[in-house]
Symmetry: C2
Subunit: 392 residues, 2 copies
């Protein structure tokens, strides 16, 4: 007989979802009201303003897509790209590959720029691609590659697109709330994110913002977007100005309660304080991992503080280690993805998961599990190293 589901309380230190704040969980459980209720429309306006704060933008067209981050990615491409367009796509991990899929499904032509997994996108190659493909109308890249933990130089990349008269699409799924994201100053045209990373909301929503010129391009499209559900021309009429909202789809009301609360928490803490917390806990984790003799997979200069890729040492069993962490410690860390599957772990310190307690818990648990597999370490050394950063 099927019964109600009572999940265990995990510590979520994978690539997302991250630990969801009790405040957000409480918001999720509040009574549902109608998606056209005047009070809900007011909530939508507040969410929009809070997203503008988080994304550092004045863009009018700023809202959460009613589906996970992959739908946010598709919304970016399905609206900005038309059949026959040329799109320069940077790939340095899993999500650049997904961008290519999206370009192709728009009936457009992707020009791929490849960089090694774990390295940032090389701006030189992007400039060269624009020289070889002056017809390119869009540049797309991943700011924070969730599959590798590498950060690319979004400001420079957006600038190159801008100088070539092209639009930029920035995947900021793992960025938002964890590290600097400066939509307007970067002149980014479309930036999308996810709710379940550094915002520490539940998964299922993807904040997105379109610059004024991107919105104009969308409004002036001659061909319709291939997606009805993600068509911004239609969605604008629900999320637009004024009190009167036209029904497009039924918004995920309770998930939006949660997003509102998570954005409020971010604003209360302040972006800079949040970034600094992510940085400190990251540095502590790295100090601890290195004290255990582990090697980080990404160079220090472009490591994401919120997603730490670390090589699995010789002799240590990937699956066994993660299973034991999950079953014995209720601790989830992430497996490597794509090219890095079986080679790395991805340890998330995102949003509400980026705490002193989690850094120490993770190091202690990993020490215990690896010691059982005969890994040579000095018990407690990792925690001491982490604490020396945390207490500095």
């Amino acid at each position: 007989m099927t019964k109600s589901f009572y999940p265990p309380i995990r510590t979520l230190m994978g690539p997302g979802p991250s630990d969801v704040s009790p405040r957000v969980l409480a918001a999720m459980g509040r009574p549902t009201i109608g998606h056209l209720d005047p009070l809900f429309v007011e909530l939508m306006d507040e969410i929009k303003q809070l997203l503008q704060y988080a994304l550092k933008t004045k863009n009018e067209l700023t809202l959460p897509i009613s589906a996970p981050g992959s739908a946010g990615m598709e919304a970016a491409f399905a609206n900005l790209v038309s059949p026959g367009d040329t799109v320069i796509v940077c790939q340095n991990g899993v999500f650049g590959g997904r961008m290519k899929e999206n370009v192709e499904r728009c009936g457009a032509n992707p020009v791929m720029i490849q960089d090694s997994w774990g390295k940032p996108v090389d701006p030189e190659k992007v400039s060269e691609a624009f020289d070889s493909h002056p017809e390119a109308s869009v540049l797309a890249f991943v700011h924070s590659e969730t599959s590798t933990g590498a950060r690319s130089d979004a400001k420079t990349l957006c600038q190159i697109a801008f100088e070539h008269g092209a639009f930029s699409i920035v995947d900021a799924v793992t960025t938002l709330g964890g590290i600097e994201l400066d939509t307007d100053n970067w002149k980014a045209d479309v930036v999308y994110s996810g709710s379940q990373k550094c915002l520490s909301c539940v998964p299922g929503l993807s904040p997105i913002t379109f610059s004024k010129r991107a919105a104009e391009r969308i409004n002036n499209r001659t061909s319709k977007s291939h997606s009805w559900f993600l068509d911004m021309q239609l969605i604008m009429s629900y999320w637009g100005e004024g009190k009167k909202r036209a029904y497009h789809h039924t918004a995920p009301v309770n998930a939006l309660y949660g997003l509102h609360e998570s954005l409020l928490i971010l604003k209360e803490e302040g972006l800079e304080t949040s970034f600094s917390r992510h940085r400190t806990n990251h540095e502590a984790l790295v100090a601890g991992l290195e004290a255990m003799g582990l090697e980080m997979a990404v160079d220090q200069d472009f490591r994401l503080p919120q997603l730490n890729s670390v090589y699995i040492p010789n002799g240590i069993d990937d699956g066994k280690t993660r299973n034991e962490l999950l079953n014995d410690f209720n601790l989830e860390i992430g497996a490597g993805l794509g090219e890095l599957a079986g080679k790395t772990w991805r340890i998330g310190l995102m949003g509400h998961s980026s705490t002193r307690r989690n850094v120490i818990t993770c190091l202690a648990s990993l020490e215990a599990v690896m010691a059982k597999q005969g890994y040579d370490l000095v018990p407690g050394a990792a925690i001491d190293a982490a604490k020396s950063v945390l207490d500095a």
Copy 2:
């Protein structure tokens, strides 16, 4: 200063969302776990089985799409329809029009069959359309038109499609859990629904099921679906068989807790008992409305018990009435949609909203608000009429 959002407790008697059970709200607020957590994979399996029960199907490819009902509709078309296909689309309300949009965005050719808003789809016209368009590979229609409250004869329509060697796509957004839905016996090929109608879960998910031959057609597609996010070839690898699930997108974990609980509630009550409850409360509401001198917009033979369209009487102000119901009684009823905007109200008795208490509350509130506008009625007559049905 923006604050946490505390919604009022509404009584939701519009076209959805319906009142969400406290059990579902409690489930929504439980701690988030990872979308690849073994315990979450078990939950997914249970959801699949519960959906198979609710949809009366053995279809292997049965799952909730991670987005609202409009995405479920798009998933049906984007997977089953290829560029150049001919699709017969029945329109007798708003949602048939949306189906046409979906067909066009697949690069396919819609053949439209029009019936009056508030009437069911005419099977004769469907047969004729197949005769004139023997190349048609898909028939699409709305079983329960949420914009009008009319039910079409899904069994007959699916049979016609089957006899013409075509696939059927059935919009059952407002159907599921409220009235008979017999996927396998009807030989329906794709049936999609929404979480926020008669399941009384929060909005944001769309259950969908594909027959074996529909799944084969999808697996044998030569052109890729235009949507990456909704591509069933990819989604299957996450929702498929076995313990090993390939990451496609991050599932909306907490919304799925809620869906699981709502499906459990439906199974505990039993489909037939749920249908009978919907029928009784509907008959009571209609008796009450007619005792007030109001006229139903849909003929008795094909009225949806879960969505009651009633004409707004002369001299009564649509907006004012709905606003007063909302502000003074915390009661939401639905406005007319499309052609019926300003002409009808849509009173939902869906799922957890379909209760004796709601029938009586709605009638009493409507009496009070309409009497204030000078409408001639015998106070209490509507409630007496409803009670005579409820207590029979």
